[in-house]
């Protein structure tokens, strides 16, 4: 299997190199998306299927869609990415030598790093955590505070984007592209099915809130692209949208507080009811991740009165 790994590593290097070194904005973005897919395969090889699922949906899908949409909105003068080697100065050379030196050190450090790990500690408390799958247990119970802060970071990002400008409506679709709305309509039940499947599976196998939210968000971005979610742009629904965006974080905070009231520690879930808490948080987190990924795609504040 070393041959497969070698091929994967070479593919990752090639796509990353083309993304960073060659001229052309579109080519760079396409290479980044290919790089994301190769990384998803590498995660599978490294026994990280949860990460692979999220990377395939977010790293290759949503990031690529965001970048391509922005590229489409830019004037032609912004499309000329110079190749880096074109201005090979003494400064670039010095930086390269320094960075290569750091690379060598980093490689030696990573390979010779002691890896204590917390496998046994996690396995010991897994039974009380409410989820059989260790990654889900860590995300939603053991280290739930991290996930809470991560949802807060996403909400801050949405707030930052909304404060910048008005939402940029998707380009009007006309009859020249007949297949796209149909595809979005046909695929949406499957997106919902995959979302529910990941949520259900997350308790005992790779899946859970993050891949589920990413898949639903990707499907939502497809619907936004085809203009199928008109309500998000309407002023009347703006307040509802704000509440929905905040709902995941609020629910998370409520759970943390109720854990504090019941057990005395913030976010301490009582083992007897932990599984119910986890399912509720999982659904809320996945839905709010999906909705926030979709609002990223608006690049601004929707629903402003004209």
């Amino acid at each position: 299997m070393l041959v497969v790994d070698l091929l994967l590593a070479l593919a990752a290097l090639a796509t990353a190199g083309q993304c960073l070194l060659l001229p052309g904005l579109f080519r760079a973005i396409a290479n980044l998306m290919a790089f994301g897919l190769v990384m998803a395969l590498i995660w599978v090889r490294l026994d990280a299927p949860d990460v692979a699922l999220a990377e395939a949906a977010i790293g290759a899908g949503i990031t690529g869609a965001l970048l391509l949409t922005v590229a489409g909105q830019l004037p032609a003068s912004q499309h000329s990415l110079q190749s880096i080697g074109s201005g090979l100065s003494r400064r670039t050379l010095a930086i390269s030598v320094l960075v290569l030196f750091i690379t060598g050190l980093l490689w030696i450090a990573v390979v010779s790093l002691p890896k204590p790990g917390l496998v046994n500690e996690v396995t010991a408390v897994l039974a009380d955590s409410g989820a059989e799958h260790a990654v889900t247990a860590i995300l939603l119970n053991l280290r739930g505070m991290d996930t809470l802060l991560e949802v807060a970071v996403m909400l801050c990002a949405v707030a930052a984007i909304w404060s910048l400008q008005k939402a940029i409506p998707p380009p009007p679709l006309n009859n020249h592209y007949p297949g796209l709305p149909t595809l979005a309509r046909w695929l949406h039940p499957l997106f919902l099915l995959t979302f529910s499947y990941f949520l259900w599976q997350g308790a005992h196998a790779p899946g859970g809130a993050f891949p589920a939210g990413a898949v639903l968000g990707a499907g939502g971005v497809l619907l936004l692209l085809t203009g199928s979610i008109a309500w998000m742009h309407q002023h009347a629904y703006n307040l509802l949208l704000r509440w929905l965006l905040a709902a995941g974080l609020l629910f998370f905070l409520a759970t943390a507080l109720s854990g504090f009231l019941i057990t005395g520690t913030l976010y301490g879930l009582p083992p007897r009811f932990a599984s119910y808490f986890i399912i509720a948080i999982e659904v809320a987190t996945a839905l709010s991740i999906a909705l926030m990924l979709m609002t990223f795609y608006l690049f601004g504040r929707p629903g402003t009165r004209q």
């Binding site: 490294l46 970048l67 490689w107 991560e150």
Partner: protein, 101 residues
């Protein structure tokens, strides 16, 4: 020094560690030298992927797969797409082509 290198056998882990280190190097050079802001953003994205790769490698312990780095990386992926979205919105505010009316 030779004692350090004897630890590095040619395994998949060592290979991916080398890949991660090389990706860190390439994207760092790009972050520092690229003129186009989007190129820097792409470089930051690749840099974060490389860091995730190094993190997941530390999860492969002698006792089995440590799930904590996996959870960290999942959180990190979502945070990195949030950063990308904010940067792109800032970039659009500055450089967006006026829509043809």
């Amino acid at each position: 020094m030779s004692l350090l290198f004897t630890d590095i056998a040619l395994t998949s882990d060592a290979l991916f560690a080398l890949l991660g280190a090389l990706l860190v190097a390439m994207s760092l050079v790009s972050v520092f030298t690229a003129r186009h802001l989007i190129r820097r953003l792409l470089a930051v994205n690749i840099l974060s992927s490389a860091v995730f790769l190094l993190l997941v490698l530390t999860a492969r312990t002698a006792d089995g797969i440590d799930p904590i780095p996996h959870a960290l990386v999942l959180t990190g992926i979502v945070v990195s797409v949030s950063t990308t979205a904010v940067v792109l919105a800032l970039y659009l505010r500055r450089y967006r082509r006026e829509p043809p009316c």
